[in-house]
Point group: C2
Chain length 200, copies 2
Amino acid sequence: MSSGRKKSFDEDTALNAAMDVFWQKGYVGASLTDLTKRMGINKPSMYSAFGNKESLFIKATQCYIETKMKPHVELLFEEDVSLKQRLKNHMMSIVTMQCDSEQAQGCYLVLCQSELVSGDIPEQAESILKEADVMPIQLYTELFTSDIESIELGLNKNAQANGLALYTMLKGTASMARSGIDKSTLEYSIDRILAGIGLH
Amino acid sequence: MSSGRKKSFDEDTALNAAMDVFWQKGYVGASLTDLTKRMGINKPSMYSAFGNKESLFIKATQCYIETKMKPHVELLFEEDVSLKQRLKNHMMSIVTMQCDSEQAQGCYLVLCQSELVSGDIPEQAESILKEADVMPIQLYTELFTSDIESIELGLNKNAQANGLALYTMLKGTASMARSGIDKSTLEYSIDRILAGIGLH
DNA sequence: CTTAAACTATACCGTTAGGTACAATTTATT
DNA sequence: AATAAATTGTACCTAACGGTATAGTTTAAG
């Protein structure tokens, strides 16, 4: 084992704290003081553990995608559940997360993607945010294209557009959640968009 | 007439330029250098004309509401147009604006409202942003409650929820527009949410 | 028990943030 | 022409930004 003083903090815990700060303030709005204070460490510890603000952000973003987004995906492919119910479960699982987070509401990705237009986001951070914006569209398009029930209902005809409609609504609920609208209120909107694409 | 040197710039033009910067970068992200450069003036001129960054922002926000949002409202109350078509015209008018802006895409208000959670927005700016977030809900609720065709269709039963569903979708299109999704693509989503609340 | 590696704390770096003092300039009034 | 009011440009203020040098502390290995 390598010698030397041991870390007095858990990297994963610190990363999660950083994620919360970016979730609350975005990339530009999150200062190193905000970050290190919530991570419970000081700047040199942060720089030695994560590199710099940008690479901390990239790791926090990957952490968000893995732990906060991907878990909702499997709900789309549960067996013995109707397409409508799978989509409802999936979307409400996301909306629940958007509304549940104690301080930082909404969606981390929606917030940070909105900063891209400013031109103040570094290159690699921009890349990962743009990639993350494409994934859901591919996911929904693939679902509507291949799912048996989707094909039976003819939803495969407009697979991408249907997926985009759901994704657009989820971006809307993210924004609404950030404004303090609660889950039960947003559920109605989810039901309406599902009905709108033909899933009554 | 009062004596003294004359302003070398048009206040309204400068205010519109400031609006564009806030639209692109949000309140926190827009620096005085960004602002004054695009306004074509220097800092003392800006401070004497508008007070400070916060009051410039408040005036820019009021300008946005008056010139960019309110014009869409009248489309909701045109005579001899069906409720569905009025809502479609209204929403597509907004989506067109969200997509048209050359650099700053999306919605100024959605962008800046997302900054509220950070706690870095001054008091009065926070107030006007929160007020602006309530107005559309009231507008749609009133429409669904009072409109004859809405009552005939039973949409008045869930007036507020229906209004919220439309508003949520428009916040979603704002986010999508900022990611570069074009108007014709978003039109499908508008059609789907209208169908979803019963306007086929 | 020394050594060297790794981590922590403090203090600091240059830059930019929002905001202002002040002198120079332009204008209408006297 | 002289004056007073208003605007402009420059130069500057303090505070906070992202980032780092360095000295001190803790730890495993020799």
